[in-house]
């Protein structure tokens, strides 16, 4: 009995020492959310510097929007360029290099110079169809091929053209956030900027692909993937009904009207946020066959969800997708 008592005391003492010596902040876990870039964002972090990192992410995102990307903030780099029809673009040259590349490789299916066209579309509760002539006119002033970019200066040959980073802004934010997190004591991070997601850490993450007919937390499939970026372009995000027809926000750069090709969403998985964002739009516009080729060209996993509730997972995505909603069928090609 005496020996047992001694053993128990030793065990308790050892546990107490271990408990006191353990630095609880190493595994500090926080969840926070905020609104900026005209969208809703969530941040989940594990690590000693979670609080500081979350605050830095919040201010970085706001700053990135108001000082660089926003078209409503008159002093942002993009606003100034649009106003002057070009100018010094060194602050956004890294972004422009990637975006021009996607424009070219997608044959113009992705085009970030369509601002004048997208401005004609409104997704309020009292929608009005834009005038056809106005769309044609706006289109005639748009097109990435009308821009000259030498790595520093950008020159809009048509001064009425409007650059709009709406199709890549969330991904750009994720790339900048990644740099912040790499310099902080953070072991694990899941950051969602308006539904575009950054994953960091040594574990295998589970990411849901949104149910096109459900709320923003419900999903039809899971992706079991290591760290990286995931982005979806979906026709359900901003849409309205007019004259018995549905109109959504993903515009075909050729027609100026919403893409109508039987797709509900396209999801891209890659290491780069800006690329996943731009490619998800490009592949949505291109449709399954050409979109698959483009994603392959960039070495990115891609998942297409169709109106017929068929799911096509390509370029490796077939190995990590799990359909969780019985209404949807995974199709092997």
């Amino acid at each position: 009995m005496k020996k047992t008592a001694v053993a128990i005391v030793i065990i308790i003492a050892a546990a107490l020492v271990a408990f006191l010596a353990y630095d609880g902040t190493v595994n500090k876990e926080i969840t926070s959310d905020f609104f900026s870039m005209n969208t809703y964002s969530t941040v989940k972090l594990k690590g000693a510097e979670s609080d500081e990192a979350a605050e830095e992410i919040r201010s970085l995102t706001e700053k990135l929007d108001t000082e660089i990307l926003s078209r409503t903030s008159s002093k942002s780099v993009v606003s100034v360029l649009n106003k002057n029809g070009g100018g010094n673009a060194e602050k956004i040259s890294d972004y422009l290099n990637v975006l021009f590349d996607v424009c070219k490789k997608s044959g113009g299916a992705f085009d970030f110079t369509l601002g004048a066209v997208s401005d004609l579309w409104s997704f309020s509760s009292n929608p009005v169809l834009p005038d056809e002539t106005a769309i044609k006119d706006a289109l005639s002033h748009s097109g990435y091929d009308k821009m000259k970019f030498d790595g520093k200066e950008i020159d809009y040959s048509d001064k009425a053209a409007v650059i709009d980073f709406g199709g890549a802004g969330k991904g750009i934010a994720l790339d900048e956030i990644k740099t912040v997190l790499e310099n902080k004591k953070i072991r694990e991070a899941v950051v969602s900027i308006g539904g575009s997601v950054l994953l960091m850490g040594d574990k295998k993450f589970t990411v849901g692909i949104r149910n096109p007919e459900g709320n923003s937390g419900s999903y039809i499939a899971k992706l079991h993937i290591p760290e990286g970026c995931v982005s979806t372009s979906g026709s359900y995000e901003q849409q309205f009904e007019f004259g018995g027809r549905k109109y959504h926000h993903i515009l075909d750069p050729e027609t100026g009207y919403p893409v109508d090709n039987g797709l509900l969403s396209v999801t891209i998985v890659s290491d780069s946020g800006i690329l996943t964002d731009a490619l998800s739009t490009a592949c949505f516009v291109l449709g399954y066959e050409k979109g698959k080729e483009l994603a392959e060209n960039y070495g990115c996993g891609v998942v297409f969800v169709t109106e017929e509730k068929k799911v096509y997972a390509e370029n490796g995505a077939e190995n990590y997708i799990e359909i969780t909603d019985n209404a949807y069928t995974l199709v092997m090609q």
Binding site: D33, N38, V197, I209, G234, T267
Partner: protein, 123 residues
Amino acid sequence: MNLKFIKKGDIIMIAVIIIAAAVFMLWNNSKTEAVQAVITVDGEVVKTVDLGNIKEKITFIPATEPRVLITAENGKIRFESAECEDKLCVACGNLSKHGDTAVCLPSKTVITVTGSDVDAVVY
């Protein structure tokens, strides 16, 4: 049986510890996970609703501009109406499953049913 180092008292003590641990585990597992909905405005929690324990319909209007009306009953919660332009939050309908989320951007109001089994949802 010749148990030199273990006495009767030791066996009783070990048995008591094992039984206590088993009882604790059974009690812990039997607890059903509550389905809770959290309402936040601009990142701050303004109300938590236990969806499994609603006796009468709950109506809630957080202090936001534009205003939104949230209702909860029988294990579900929703944006019933909203004074915003797009009304995407109302279109989300009822939220009842773990992870269900509806966001009203203009009023910065979010309803989330806690306990999603994925790290994130892309949309």
